[in-house]
């Protein structure tokens, strides 16, 4: 997202370097979506990797198929693109933006400051750096045993399956397991919230953001970390407070580890520069840059789930686009 935005904003390809562990920008996501057999996105028409919201996936699909139905669904907020449509869009964005020309494949361990900006694993200097690190790892229940598989790892289904969790992945797994002929039990401590997106819609724009920033951000993010999924995914399945003893398989739809401390690169930055944190969250400026490491001459910005302090829906495609736009603004004023 950041790469396509910078390119659309006029930054030349040779001015951008992407450090990535995978040549495919959607690689990890693709693996997880395949693992839970996800068919449709939770995001809507604007959940795509392009820098502008228009044309969205609905308009593109309608134009490609000459079928206005996706547009009509989108007007009614009922359009959920198929995973294939989204991944095709990622491939197109990758091709058009020259992603592969900017990419240096390899895992990044260290970002250090220097008088001209930052060095990334000794490479650089770079005046503007965006840390789009993704989720730090899968979250597992404390009482994990040999029956456990994670929803986001490839797996088949036993005859009696307990699904731990109550979010989007859990709702998908209830259906998957039942479709595979399994007897399904949902193991959850609290009832899921049924809502179309993972946050109320005003929080995706300045209107909701202004209110969010005036309040207690940590408390808000805690409150909205409750699992949720769209109403149309709901399935009535038996519920249990703990994993039944006779469950042959436990599918852990428990999401990802949360907090900067689980990411070695971020944890090191916080330690070395005594960066402010609250409740395991990195405290950022309102434009998703890191205070203390960003000034008139350089930018260290954060995207994805670690940018929630600035934008509560930062782990969505809209959130990544939001951060990318702020980064572009910083780069333009360089």
């Amino acid at each position: 997202m950041a790469h396509t935005t910078l390119r659309a904003g006029g930054v030349a390809p040779d001015e951008i370097v992407v450090f990535g562990a995978d040549a495919d920008p959607a690689g990890p996501w693709r693996t997880r979506a395949t693992a839970i057999r996800q068919t449709h996105m939770r995001s809507e028409s604007d959940g795509h990797p392009f820098p502008r919201t228009f044309p969205g996936l609905a308009a593109r699909e309608a134009a490609r198929t000459l079928d206005p139905w996706p547009l009509l669904l989108s007007v009614a907020d009922r359009y959920r693109p198929r995973v294939g449509v989204f991944l095709d869009a990622v491939d197109r964005a990758r091709e058009r933006s020259g992603w592969d020309d900017s990419l240096r494949v390899g895992r990044t361990f260290l970002v250090t400051t220097c008088h001209k900006g930052f060095r990334v694993d000794g490479d650089g200097p770079y005046r503007h750096v965006l840390l789009a690190l993704g989720h730090p790892g899968l979250a597992w229940p404390d009482d994990r045993d040999a029956r456990c598989v994670h929803a986001y790892e490839p797996h088949e289904y036993a005859r009696k399956v307990a699904v731990v969790g109550a979010g989007m992945a859990a709702a998908t797994e209830w259906r998957n397991a039942r479709a595979a002929g399994a007897e399904v039990v949902s193991v959850r401590r609290r009832e899921p919230v049924l809502r179309p997106l993972n946050l109320p819609r005003p929080l995706f724009t300045k209107r909701g953001l202004d209110e969010y920033r005036r309040g207690d951000r940590a408390a808000f993010l805690r409150a909205f970390s409750a699992p949720s999924y769209p109403r149309e995914l709901h399935l009535d399945v038996p519920v249990a407070p703990a994993v039944p003893d006779d469950a042959e398989q436990v599918v852990c739809a428990t999401g990802f580890l949360r907090g900067y401390a689980h990411d070695p690169l971020l944890a090191r930055l916080v330690d070395e520069h005594a960066l402010a944190t609250v409740d395991g969250l990195l405290v950022l400026n309102d434009n998703a840059t890191v205070p203390g490491l960003t000034d008139d001459t350089r930018t260290l910005a954060v995207s994805g789930v670690h940018a929630q302090w600035s934008f509560p829906a930062a782990d969505t495609l809209s959130g990544m686009r939001w951060v990318a736009h702020r980064l572009l603004r910083r780069c333009r004023t360089r």
């Binding site: 005003p202 995706f204 300045k206 686009r321």
Partner: protein, 374 residues
């Protein structure tokens, strides 16, 4: 989209810029103010709703909401057009509104998100472009308003009795006084308000003039018609007419291609015919017609129009006459003490009747070649 208040206003202004520009060109080309007045009304109604209702009631506005909100705004604009007495023809005004609405959708959903990366996430705000846009739109409105103010027709106040006939051959507003010997109007955009006219061949005669308004005029003692309009578009409101035997009260005729005319809220006493329209498109509503010798109200010679909520009393002939290939909607009228049929469709005419009341008056009738639909 979740608009901020500023975003709503800036998007509204951006969407209004092109229709305003088109209205300026239209008004200049057609030498009519209504396109600009309607464009300004559309913007005004939208801004009032944005600030007063939408912002509070719609923290998130789905795409489909543009349709009901558009209809709501259209209703307000039409109501304001009528309340402010803007002489906008209905169909072109609605078409103009629809095109402006369509343009706003294209702009809000496609053009602005393409032009500005952060448009959606900033709640519709236009960044640095917002303020200059607001200033530009305000300047257009102020400039147009200034031109309208300085070029508006002069207002002439009459005091006491003025000997006529008066000939009004340029746009003006004539207010007050008593005119003997009649008034002749030959210019467009003439308004006659609160004037009493005594005598004359025709009390008020209008010839080939458009957008003429007669408001609260009193006419009596004319030798032919109290009010007579030919090939003109006329709005007559709240008049009082006294027509001697052998004359007509109000006769508005032969202007089928000059848009709608209207006679509303008048009291017409006497005459052979109270109110008549020949070869016209017009509405006759909420009038009281008393003691006409021949027809109380008539639409004839291929006229099309609506006759509604009138009271016709003591007519010696037909109460409401729809004749000679005319098409008439006759609704909610009260016909009292008439000698002839309350309503008559005659000579290939068609009348649609609804909710009329006949008191001591023979029922509706039609000739064999005409139709009555109830």
């Amino acid at each position: 989209m979740s608009y901020t208040l500023r975003g709503r206003i800036e998007t509204r202004l951006a969407a209004a810029a092109l229709p305003l520009a088109a209205a300026v060109v239209w008004s200049a080309g057609a030498r009519e103010w209504w396109p600009l007045e309607v464009a300004a009304l559309m913007l005004g109604v939208g801004l009032v709703l944005d600030a007063g209702a939408y912002h509070r009631l719609l923290p998130y506005q789905p795409g489909w909401a543009a349709v009901p909100l558009g209809l709501l705004e259209l209703g307000f604009v039409l109501w304001c057009t009528r309340a402010l007495r803007i002489g906008a023809p209905y169909e072109p005004a609605v078409a103009f509104f629809f095109l402006a609405w369509l343009w706003a959708q294209v702009l809000g959903h496609a053009a602005l998100p393409l032009a500005r990366f952060e448009y959606a996430e900033d709640g519709g705000e236009l960044g640095r472009g917002g303020a200059p846009l607001g200033v530009a739109v305000a300047l257009v409105l102020i400039a147009a308003g200034g031109v309208a103010w300085f070029t508006r027709p002069p207002t002439v106040h009459l005091h006491g009795v003025v000997r006529g006939p008066l000939v009004l051959d340029h746009a003006q507003t004539l207010v007050g006084g008593v005119v003997t010997g009649g008034i002749v109007v030959t210019a467009d955009d003439v308004t006659i308000r609160d004037v009493t006219v005594l005598g004359g061949d025709n009390g008020i005669e209008i010839r080939e003039a458009q957008d003429v308004r007669l408001e609260r005029v009193r006419v009596s003692g004319a030798r032919e018609d109290a009010i007579n309009a030919r090939q003109s578009s006329v709005q007559i409101e709240d008049c009082v007419v006294d027509a001697p035997p052998g004359t007509q009260g109000i006769d508005v005729s032969f202007a089928m291609h000059h848009g709608m005319s209207m006679v509303e809220g008048c009291v017409v006493h006497g005459g052979d015919v109270g109110i008549t329209m020949h070869t016209m498109m017009g509405d006759i509503r909420e009038n009281v017609v008393v003691g006409a010798r021949h027809h109380g109200i008539e639409l004839t010679e291929m006229s099309m129009g609506k006759v509604e909520r009138n009271e016709v009393r003591g007519t010696r002939g037909v109460g409401i006459y729809c004749g000679d290939h005319s098409v008439c909607e006759v609704e909610r009228n009260r016909l009292v003490g008439g000698a002839g049929p309350g309503v008559l469709a005659f000579y290939y005419a068609g009348a649609e009747l609804a909710h009329n009341v006949f008191v001591d008056t023979p029922p509706a009738a039609h000739s064999p070649d005409s139709t009555l639909t109830r």
